[in-house]
């Protein structure tokens, strides 16, 4: 299936270097990667392998030091801070390991947050946020603050927030890192379901084989390079 859809993300010889001279760290050392619309890609690797940096670059939170990054065919490697903010606002959704919800703010308002920056009116915002909460099964918790929700519920609110803005690509950084096995499975099932319903492209960083198994493609990174790029069992089965 993904083989014939257009490339959403295309990285060409991407590097990301921190520091200079002796202290130079090549977090990304020449990455070539194409992700097509509708793919669910898991990025794995030991710590320090550059998978988080790759995530930040793909998510336009960070700019590459060199290389070409085509997003929907447009080169976005050289965009400035504000242009990247616009790109995130309109095309990308984020789910983090630590949920990153605004404290003391009801779930509904957390989900509305990206819509505010899209300039949406209050009524439409509310409707869209409720719809997103419904999709993650938390509509009845809309008025609860993060502190009143379990970890799994908080992560579902975070997913609703990422989806509310109707992004093309969902970026998930260790989304189950803080959850037990049961909750983790729930979250992964949710992601798989949403991907189908919304025709999402998902890029997920994880260090758990079990979670990576939900994806249909696995990228293994070592020392800032892609060491392995292969379909998962699920991916091979679906393709076959």
């Amino acid at each position: 299936m993904p083989g014939d859809t257009p490339a959403v993300i295309a990285l060409r010889d991407i590097t990301r270097v921190y520091g200079r001279g002796e202290a130079e760290v090549r977090a990304l050392d020449g990455i070539d990667l194409t992700i097509r619309a509708g793919e669910f890609v898991a990025i794995m690797g030991p710590s320090g392998s550059g998978k988080s940096t790759a995530m930040n670059v793909i998510g336009c939170l960070d700019s590459p030091t060199s290389g070409e990054y085509l997003f929907n065919g447009v080169d976005v490697a050289g965009l400035d801070q504000d242009q990247r903010a616009l790109l995130r606002r309109h095309y990308l959704g984020f789910v983090f390991q630590g949920y990153n919800l605004l404290p003391r703010t009801p779930a509904l308002e957390n989900v509305e947050l990206p819509l505010i920056y899209k300039g949406m009116g209050a009524a439409e915002r509310r409707a869209r946020a409720l719809e997103a909460l419904e999709q993650v099964g938390l509509a009845q918790r809309a008025d609860h603050e993060p502190s009143e929700l379990s970890g799994g519920q908080q992560q579902r609110v975070a997913i609703a927030r990422a989806l509310a803005g109707s992004p093309e690509v969902l970026l998930a950084d260790e989304p189950t890192g803080n959850l037990d096995t049961h909750r983790s499975a729930e979250i992964m099932d949710l992601l798989v379901r949403l991907r189908a319903e919304r025709e999402l492209t998902i890029v997920m960083v994880t260090h758990e084989e079990d979670m990576a198994a939900y994806a249909d493609r696995l990228i293994w990174m070592v020392d800032g390079r892609i060491a392995e790029d292969r379909p998962t069992e699920r991916g091979a089965r679906d393709a076959g």
Binding site: D82, A85, N100, L113, Y117, G119
Partner: protein, 403 residues
């Protein structure tokens, strides 16, 4: 978007209500102080003008000596006037309707076993005319009493209350020094002057009586002259000066050894002093506004650090730097405007309270109130900008990592 930002700011402020209040306390006090000072200052200026108008704007004060020193200082080294001078002024200056000598001394007035210290003034009926001060009980001085220097007196309301309570004192006797004198009238109550002194704390006796029985000389150190209706005070002043120069034999090139001051001059002199004082106090108060602004900057910086993670989240979901800047700037402005509003309420209340105690008019000036409000907004912009810019320049990855 702006409405959204303001709503957000109000909520952020409300979330830390106590801290927000303490933060803006500096602005509250600053604005309140400026408004209270200026309002009270303007009130007392208005009171001075009113008092002087009560004295009569057509009244001239003539005193020996050159510079205008102040209204009631009687110490001067210059030659005093005498009663003949007063009579010549009345006779020879057509613009002068009437004139009265005025001498004054502090002493005890005794009635029965009550002893009360007050100001005893030697004047003529003309003084009551010039100052438009009616006698409400009894009568004024009779011609014979004025000419003969009889021991009669007219009491101010305060002295009446102190010595006789609410009873009618006309016909009773009081003792001033060794002189026993008959009360023939009571003056209408005038209340406090702009300096808080009680104008009714007075006993009036005929000027000749004062000279003979109290001062023991024939000096006159102050003349009040009432200008005829329709005549200009400047004209009257010129004429009075000419006559006095002749009387006092002042040569052509020499300067006057007396001065004639009209009430408008006096009023502007007094309000001038009040205005300078008001300005100084307001300037001191404005400094506390500045300090209040620094307080806001301080707490906004703390707030930016505390909320670094929140800023990271906002940036991640697509907020641009200027939107973060706007959020924190609006928060600082809303904060200081709230402080400004509280300061205005507090300042006006203080001014109203002070006006009641000082018995001056309460005259809130919309320009001052709006000015203070605008200034507190400015404080928000100026002192909120630096913290807001710091927030806007945060790197999203760093900010997200911050816990």
């Amino acid at each position: 978007m702006l409405g959204e930002t303001i709503r957000l700011a109000v909520r952020a402020i409300w979330r830390n209500a106590l801290r927000s209040f303490l933060t803006v306390l500096g602005v509250v006090i600053g604005v309140a102080a400026v408004i209270a000072m200026v309002t009270v200052g303007q009130g007392s200026s208005a009171q001075v003008t009113q008092d002087v108008a009560k004295l009569g704007t057509n009244v001239l004060m003539i005193r020996p000596g050159q510079a205008a020193m102040g209204p009631r200082s009687s110490s001067t080294s210059e030659r005093p006037f005498d009663l003949r001078d007063v009579e010549r002024l009345i006779r020879e200056v057509p613009a002068v309707e009437t004139a009265s000598a005025a001498e004054q001394s502090q002493m005890s007035a005794v009635a029965g076993n009550v002893n009360y210290r007050t100001a005893v003034w030697g004047v003529s009926n003309a003084y009551l005319d010039a100052t438009d001060w009616p006698v409400v009980l009894g009568r004024r001085f009779a011609t014979g009493e004025e000419q003969g220097g009889r021991a009669v007196c007219i009491l101010g309301e305060t002295v009446r209350q102190e010595l006789f309570g609410n009873t009618d004192p006309v016909g009773d006797k009081i003792r001033l020094k060794s002189m026993s004198c008959e009360v023939i009238g009571v003056l209408e109550a005038k209340g406090a002057s702009s300096f808080g002194s009680d104008q009714d704390d007075i006993v009036m006796i005929p000027i000749r009586t004062f000279q003979r029985r109290i001062a023991g000389n024939s000096n006159v150190n102050m003349i009040y002259a009432a200008v005829r209706d329709g005549a200009s005070t400047d004209l009257a002043k010129g004429e009075i000066e000419a006559v006095l120069r002749e009387i006092r034999r002042i040569g052509a090139g020499e300067e006057d050894d007396f001065n004639v001051m009209d009430m408008k001059q006096l009023a502007s002199m007094l309000t001038g002093i009040t205005d300078v004082l008001t300005g100084l106090l307001a300037a001191v108060a404005a400094v506390s506004l500045l300090v209040g602004g620094i307080g806001i900057m301080n707490i906004m910086l703390v707030s930016v650090t505390e909320r670094t993670h929140e800023i990271g989240i906002r940036l991640a979901v697509g907020a641009q730097a200027r939107q973060v800047l706007q959020q924190f700037l609006v928060e600082a402005i809303v904060l200081s405007l709230m402080g400004g509003l509280m300061g205005i309420a507090l300042g006006l209340s203080l001014a109203a309270l002070a006006a009641r105690f000082m018995v001056i008019p309460f005259t809130p000036d919309p320009v001052v109130v709006l000015g203070a409000f605008a200034f507190s907004a400015l404080v928000g912009v100026v002192f909120g900008y630096f913290p807001a810019r710091r927030a806007a320049r945060l790197d999203p990855i760093e900010a997200l990592r911050h816990q």
